[in-house]
């Protein structure tokens, strides 16, 4: 027995003790009927080969370790960005438990969201009664200013009609007739979480702008000088949105952040639980119709929302998660062009500081090969930044990327000598990535928390990037947008590079000659 009260051993060390090691060995040998060791080694090594890679890439039906989630997750995320809004997901209740857990594990914040808790009887008769009761309960209990409805795949498969259901619920008195209940159908078997974000945001905007499902006259656009800003589904929403607000304030731009999730995912611990905090006000959401233009930082998160906005007479500026110097330059110049506001000296100085930092460190990044996966826009933004740093984005993969995205990434590769020999993989998963990393190794991997399995299997050091990040804390508080965001990413990359160099040069009398204190 090695446990003791003065130095408590938990799972990290307890099971390394000899009595446990012996126990686990016996369990395996006597009861698990394991495969022979030689066979295990043989198959393990085979999975690293080109032959395996080819088989792996021939998969047509099976998905293994995908880098995407389903629509309603994005819909819930978008809904949480509106003032005192309760996301209401119509369908099975287990889904909502999953979305709440998933978002809370990333942001380390509460995630409020309700379900209409449909079960077998609703599968047969439809979920109308669940909607009627559910809206009434949510309205009375949590007193939201708005309830934003989306759907799970169950409700979609049986064909529940949200528009009709909400109307009936209002007729039955669940919520007042004029109460705002925007909705979006968000089938999990179409697209991914970014599609759900898009559908939900479009649902909210068309609700306010187009006559609240036929209950009031559509708003008439009275153009003003403001701009709207949409961040998209963004694991860095807290840091990013605040950075964008700072930049807009510096420029003197009058703006509305649509679906502003920066407060709800960063509430203080001060003795008080805020079920709602921040968010785009309903008035601002309606008035956003009048803006001169709308900027989307993630075009693939707003494929339907932007056309809706454009149809209402606004200019739309679609970006792909601008990161680094050139992308931020472009973003700021577009903001300046649209608003007529000059880019202030302060931002020019920030730009210079980022360029300075890159110049100081570029020797350590230049020519390094990177693999990266994530949402389509984030891959585009990061790949462009890497090339700007003189690095090669060797493998770029998005499970929820399509043909259009693939073409965009190719065009990006073609725009720089650092894109030569790089490849893009649309619709592939992390088991494909595993084969890529074994057969065409790179120096570093960018990806979310699930990338740690790739790091473990292939030995490719992981730089955490994207969503979800469960196993590192507080990354969401630091922006990746703006020159400041570029600086954050640069430091994150460099820290990993230097840690790796140190870890590979620290064996006394073998490799420690390169264990430099100045790098």
């Amino acid at each position: 027995m090695t446990q003791n009260a003065d130095n408590v051993l938990d799972h990290f060390n307890l099971f390394r003790e000899p009595e446990y090691q012996e126990m686990l060995k016996n369990k395996k040998e006597q009861f698990e009927y394991p495969e022979p060791q030689e066979k295990l080694v043989q198959v393990r090594e085979w999975t690293k080969t080109w032959e395996y890679r080819e088989k792996n890439f021939q998969r047509e039906a099976l998905t293994v370790n995908p880098a995407k989630a389903c629509q309603p997750l994005g819909a819930v995320f978008a809904a949480l960005g509106f003032e005192s809004t309760m996301p209401f997901v119509h369908g099975s209740q287990g889904c909502v438990a999953y979305y709440r857990s998933h978002l809370s594990r990333h942001f380390k914040e509460p995630t409020s969201c309700v379900s209409s808790s449909m079960t077998e009887d609703a599968a047969v008769f439809g979920g109308l009664n669940n909607m009627i009761d559910g809206l009434a309960n949510t309205y009375n209990m949590y007193k939201p200013k708005m309830i934003a409805v989306s759907t799970t795949c169950m409700a979609e498969v049986i064909g529940d009609d949200l528009n009709a259901f909400i109307k009936t619920s209002k007729d039955k008195g669940s919520v007042p007739g004029e109460y705002d209940v925007p909705f979006a159908h968000t089938p999990a078997f179409v697209g991914s979480h970014i599609t759900g974000y898009d559908n939900a945001l479009k649902g909210v905007l068309s609700h306010f702008w187009d006559g609240k499902a036929g209950t009031v006259p559509a708003l008439v656009r009275e153009p003003n000088e403001k701009i709207n800003f949409i961040g998209g589904f963004d694991g860095y929403t807290v840091g990013n949105t605040r950075e964008i607000k700072r930049i807009f304030d510096l420029m003197g731009v009058d703006y509305t952040i649509l679906a502003d999730t920066s407060e709800i995912f960063d509430t203080p611990t001060d003795g008080y639980f805020r079920m709602y905090d921040g968010g785009t006000t309903l008035e601002d959401t309606a008035a956003a119709l009048n803006a001169r233009a709308t900027f989307s930082m993630q075009a693939f998160c707003t494929e339907k929302t932007l056309p809706l906005i454009a149809e209402h007479g606004q200019e739309v500026v679609a970006l792909n998660c601008p990161m680094g110097v050139k992308a931020t330059d472009h973003f700021l110049m577009e903001v300046s062009r649209v608003t007529g506001k000059p880019i202030p000296e302060e931002l020019r100085k920030e730009r210079g500081r980022l360029v300075d930092a890159i110049a100081d460190s570029t020797a350590h990044i230049h020519g390094k090969k990177f693999a990266l996966y994530g949402d389509p826009d984030q891959c585009l933004g990061l790949a462009a930044f890497l090339m700007e740093l003189g690095a090669e984005p060797t493998h770029v993969l998005a499970t929820n990327g399509g043909k259009e995205w693939e073409a965009k990434v190719r065009a990006l590769f073609d725009s720089s000598p650092f894109g030569k020999g790089c490849n893009v993989y649309a619709g592939k998963d992390l088991w494909h990535m595993r084969s890529l990393l074994f057969t065409e190794p790179v120096d570093f991997l960018f990806g979310n928390t699930y990338g740690k399995y790739l790091e473990r299997d292939t030995g490719t050091p992981l730089i955490r990037f994207g969503f979800p990040i469960f196993d590192r804390h507080h990354h969401h508080r630091y922006p990746i947008w703006g020159y400041q965001g570029g600086m954050n990413m640069l430091v994150r990359i460099l820290d990993k590079i230097f840690d790796e160099i140190d870890n590979n040069t620290n064996v006394p009398s073998q490799s420690d000659y390169s264990f430099d204190i100045i790098r």
Partner: protein, 490 residues
């Protein structure tokens, strides 16, 4: 006027009961009338001597109230089947369910992931619209072929149905049967755990248990493995090895002289499942999720089962003796030997932590067995449980709870976000033990919190080794300096 200590205690209990009843009345006020009526049946104050906790349970959640419950898929894939390490569990349907449940439950295991073990991987059929419209059976067949091709060392496959499967009329049983035959009798288990079935995770446990009965036990009979029984063979049932719980339990059973032939299902393998009916006794930790299969093995194979509780030294000692009572003196002596062996550690843990935790109050809201099972461990540290409830318990759980809770304890079944928040706000416990969805709500309120599903990145909590960790963690949560900082000094 002199008041005896007993009278004072009675007065305290009476006051607690009155406060708790008033609190229940208060929280019910927020609901529309119909909902208030429904929710009232799930909230109660425990009265000593009653056979259960006086709440209705295992009933549909009310729409729109923010239930904390999950679904049948979560009960089957997430709890029962997911930890079986040498099989591949297909999340069959759209991508989300498998994604959100991917590796989030900390079911520890030993193995080469992706080669001979697959627990922390997400295999999904990633349904698209065309699969909904035309059905997914063909796709499922192909998926199984691809699994056989790319993961040749897998020992079996399960099909974990997501909601659409049961709605579009897919025949996963036929596909599984066909493919099993094609692969020479391979174990392929279709599981009808669509999320809309039942009212919570609970039905998923039951369905998963039944699928083991039908597709593992039946099959195992056809091609028995070589297995030599001993008189001391037991199987651990209902331990998911969260943070290594089953391991810190197994070691005690082995030390008392028993031979653990299977773990269900944490760090478990198909072979272990198949051999379990050969056990002399099934020892059952999570009654809620695995009583079904235990009863079946008792009826069909004559294997008795006994519930045990490995949280905290009092219950561990009691349980070791109960388990030993099914065996001869050698094992009974073994149990005493184990209790003796760990008594010093136990005393040291209590000496160190009890003074820091004595008299502190706890509110629990968890699933499975924990709303009652962990109470003893807290009491070993001098702490008091002032409220508890089950996410998906049944009446037999609330009956068993009476052996653990004190007179006047607040009971809440399938609690809603609103109710739980108001109750904690009023009662102001020193600690809340619940899940990830609740954690940050209460921490914002300045209330120390521990996740009691996942052990909050810690564990194991089972067994004597686990008790030391449990004590350390509760101390670390409650006596953390951060809680003195929540109010600004100006």
């Amino acid at each position: 006027m002199s008041i005896t200590a007993e009278e004072t205690q009675e007065q305290i209990v009476a006051a607690t009961k009155a406060r708790n009843r008033a609190l229940i009345d208060e929280v019910l006020k927020v609901y529309p009338e119909k909902t208030a009526k429904r929710r009232a049946k799930h909230l109660n104050v425990y009265e000593e001597g009653k056979p259960d906790c006086g709440v209705k349970s295992n009933i549909k959640s009310v729409p729109g109230v923010m239930t904390i419950r999950g679904c049948a898929y979560a009960g089957s894939k997430g709890v029962v089947w997911g930890p079986i390490k040498d099989m591949i569990h297909i999340s069959h349907g759209p991508v989300g369910c498998g994604q959100y449940s991917w590796a989030s439950r900390r079911n520890y295991y030993i193995g080469t992931t992706g080669v001979d073990t697959f627990v922390t991987m997400q295999f999904t059929s990633d349904f698209q619209e065309k699969d909904i419209v035309f059905g997914g059976d063909k796709k499922l067949e192909k998926i199984m072929d691809e699994i056989e091709d790319l993961f040749p060392l897998n020992h079996g496959i399960t099909v974990q149905s997501e909601c659409p499967i049961g709605l579009i009329g897919d025949d996963i049983e036929a596909v599984s049967k066909k493919k099993s035959k094609e692969y020479g009798g391979k174990t392929i288990v279709p599981v009808r755990c669509e999320g809309f079935r039942g009212v919570s995770q609970s039905l998923g446990h039951h369905i998963a248990n039944d699928s083991i009965r039908d597709f593992v036990f039946e099959k195992a009979g056809a091609k028995p493995r070589e297995f030599t029984s001993t008189p001391y063979d037991v199987a651990i049932i209902g331990d998911y090895n969260i943070g290594g719980d089953a391991w810190s339990s197994r070691i005690l059973l082995e030390e008392m002289g028993l031979r653990v032939i299977a773990q269900w299902s944490g760090d478990g393998s198909l072979a272990e499942l198949e051999n379990t009916p050969k056990a002399k006794l099934n020892v059952l930790h999570c009654y809620r999720s695995m009583n079904y299969i235990s009863r079946y093995m008792e009826e069909k194979h004559g294997v008795p089962w006994v519930e045990y509780n490995f949280f905290g030294p009092s219950k561990i000692a009691e349980s070791l003796r109960t388990i030993a009572s099914y065996f001869d003196d050698q094992i009974k002596e073994g149990a005493e030997r184990v209790i003796e062996k760990y008594s010093r550690l136990t005393q040291q843990v209590i000496d160190r932590y009890r003074p820091r935790l004595e008299g502190r109050t706890v509110m629990l809201y968890v699933g499975g067995l924990r709303p009652r099972h962990v109470i003893g461990a807290y009491e070993d540290l001098g702490m008091n449980i002032v409220g508890t409830g089950y996410e998906f318990g049944h009446n037999d759980d609330y009956q068993r709870t009476t052996h653990y809770v004190k007179d006047g304890t607040l009971i809440y079944d399938d609690v809603t976000g609103y109710e739980f928040e108001k109750m904690v706000e009023t009662i102001q416990p020193d600690l809340v033990g619940s899940g990830i969805k609740e954690k940050y709500v209460f921490q914002k309120m300045g209330v120390p919190f521990r996740q009691m599903h996942s052990w909050d990145c810690s564990g194991p909590y089972h067994g004597y080794d686990g008790f030391a960790i449990f004590a350390r963690d509760m101390d670390m949560a409650i006596n953390n300096p951060v809680w003195s900082l929540t109010k600004s000094p100006w």
